[in-house]
Symmetry: C2
Subunit: 224 residues, 2 copies
DNA sequence: ACCTGAACACCGTTCAAGT
DNA sequence: ACCTGAACACCGTTCAAGT
C-alpha cells in the first residue's frame, strides 16, 4: 500500500496568526537580537513570504511595538512594601532593566508611543503610585509622562550595538578641553565622566520625583 | 584651431574634503530631509562613489554627528538678561527647537553622544548657567546631563515622519480604558492627552531644574 | 480573505584594482 | 594616499496573480 499522502504531513506549518507572528518575533529577538527581527527573517522563520505578514502587522514599527508590549508583560507588579517613592523607583527601574536588554526597542518606544495592554497596565500602576504620594491629581499624568520618557531614553542611549566609540570620543574631548576656552568643562571634567549607570539613574529619578512634587502645572493648559 | 582641452573643464569637480562632505550633507538635509542623507545619495551629489566617502567619515553615525554639530553652530548664545533659570530655559528651548527641525538627528544624538566643538560650547554654557544659579559644583555635570537628555529625547519623539498613528492609537486606548480594570487611566484621561508641546516642555524643564537644585548626589560615586 | 513570488527601490560597507 | 566600480549581503513594502 502506498503511504498515505494526507494533509498535515510534518510539523504541520501552523496557520498564521498575529500572536504566532509576535511570538516568533520574540524568539528571534531573544536568540539573535532586534536587528535580526526583520520582516524577511521573520517570514523565513514562519516558512512563508514577507508579504504575507502584512495581513497581520501594518509595518515594522507596529511589529516592534507588539514585541515591546510582550516583554512588558514579564515585569513584576510593584510590591506593596515600602514608601511610594521607593516603590515608584523600583517599578521604573524594572521597566528600564527590561528595555536595557534590547535598547533598540527603547528607541522604538520613544518614537512610537506604545499603547499595548501591558503598557497601559504600567501607566495604571504609575498613576496609582503618584496618587499614593499625594501628588496633586492634575500633575500625575504629565508626571508619569516625564518619568517614562526618562526611563525610556536612558535605555535607548544604549542602542546601536553598544559601541563605546562615541563615549570615548566625548571623554577625549572633555579631557582635552582647553582651560581658557572651556573653563567650565575643564573644572567639571571629573563629574562629567563619572558615575555608575545605576547611580545616575537613581539620582535622575529622585530629581524627577522631587521636581514633580514641587512644580505646579501652568494655570491654563491648552489641548495638544 | 581646436578648442583647448585643458584640465579644469567645467565646474571643476572639487576635491573631496571632510568639510565639503559635511556641507553637502547639510544641503541635502535641508532640501530633502535626513532620510535622504545616505552615503550613496551623498556620493552622487559629490559626483563620486559611496566608497570614497569612507576615507573621511567612519560611518553613517559619524556623519550624522558631524551634521548635528554643524546645526548646533547656528543656535544663539544665551542672552545675559534675566535670571539664570530663564536663561537656562531659553537656551535649552533653542537647542530643542533646532533638533525639532530634524528629529531624526535627535535620535542619533541620543544613541551616539555628540562630542563636536559646538556641542562642547553648549555644555560649557549650560555649566556656567548652573554655576550662576549656585547649584553645588558636584551636581552641575549630572544636572546638565539630564537636562540635555530631556531636551534631546523630547525632540527625538517626533522622529519617524511625524506619523500621529501611534498617538491616535494611544488616545483611543486611553479613552476606551475600562473604568474597572484601569480606574487611574480613566480618571486621568483628560490630562494624559492634554497639553501643548511647548507647555509640557516648559513644565518639564521646571521640574528638572527644581529637582536638580533640591537633590543631593549619592555620597559615594563610582566611576562608570 | 488570505497567501505568494517577484519586483521595485533602495540601503551600508568592504575590497581588489587602479592612479 | 586616495579613489573607484563592483560586489556582498541585506532591507521594507507593494502588487498582480493565484487559491
Amino acid at each position: 500500500m502506498a503511504p498515505e499522502k494526507s494533509r498535515r504531513e510534518r510539523p504541520a506549518k501552523p496557520a498564521l496568526t498575529r500572536e504566532g507572528i509576535v511570538a516568533a518575533a520574540v524568539a528571534i529577538l531573544r536568540e539573535e537580537g532586534l536587528r535580526k527581527v526583520t520582516m524577511r527573517r521573520l517570514a523565513q522563520e514562519l516558512d512563508t513570504g514577507a508579504a504575507s505578514l502584512y495581513v497581520y502587522v501594518r509595518n515594522t514599527a507596529e511589529l516592534h511595538a507588539a514585541i515591546l508590549d510582550e516583554l512588558l508583560g514579564t515585569i513584576a507588579p510593584p510590591s506593596s512594601e515600602g514608601g511610594w517613592r521607593d516603590r515608584l523607583e523600583k517599578l521604573l527601574t524594572a521597566y528600564t532593566a527590561t528595555l536595557l536588554e534590547y535598547p533598540g526597542l527603547a528607541l522604538s518606544a520613544l518614537v512610537a508611543r506604545p499603547s499595548g495592554e501591558n503598557y497601559l497596565g504600567l501607566v495604571e500602576n504609575l498613576l496609582a503610585l503618584l496618587a499614593d504620594g499625594d501628588v496633586p491629581l492634575e500633575r500625575r499624568a504629565w508626571g508619569i509622562d516625564i518619568l517614562l520618557q526618562y526611563a525610556t531614553a536612558t535605555a535607548a542611549e544604549h542602542a546601536d550595538g553598544e559601541s563605546p566609540d562615541d563615549w570615548d570620543a566625548l571623554a577625549r574631548a572633555v579631557r582635552d578641553a582647553d582651560e581658557t576656552t572651556h573653563p567650565q568643562i575643564a573644572a567639571h571634567a571629573a563629574d562629567l565622566l563619572t558615575g555608575a549607570p545605576a547611580q545616575r539613574m537613581s539620582w535622575g529619578l529622585q530629581v524627577l520625583i522631587t521636581g514633580i512634587t514641587h512644580t505646579g502645572l501652568p494655570p491654563e493648559r491648552n489641548p495638544t
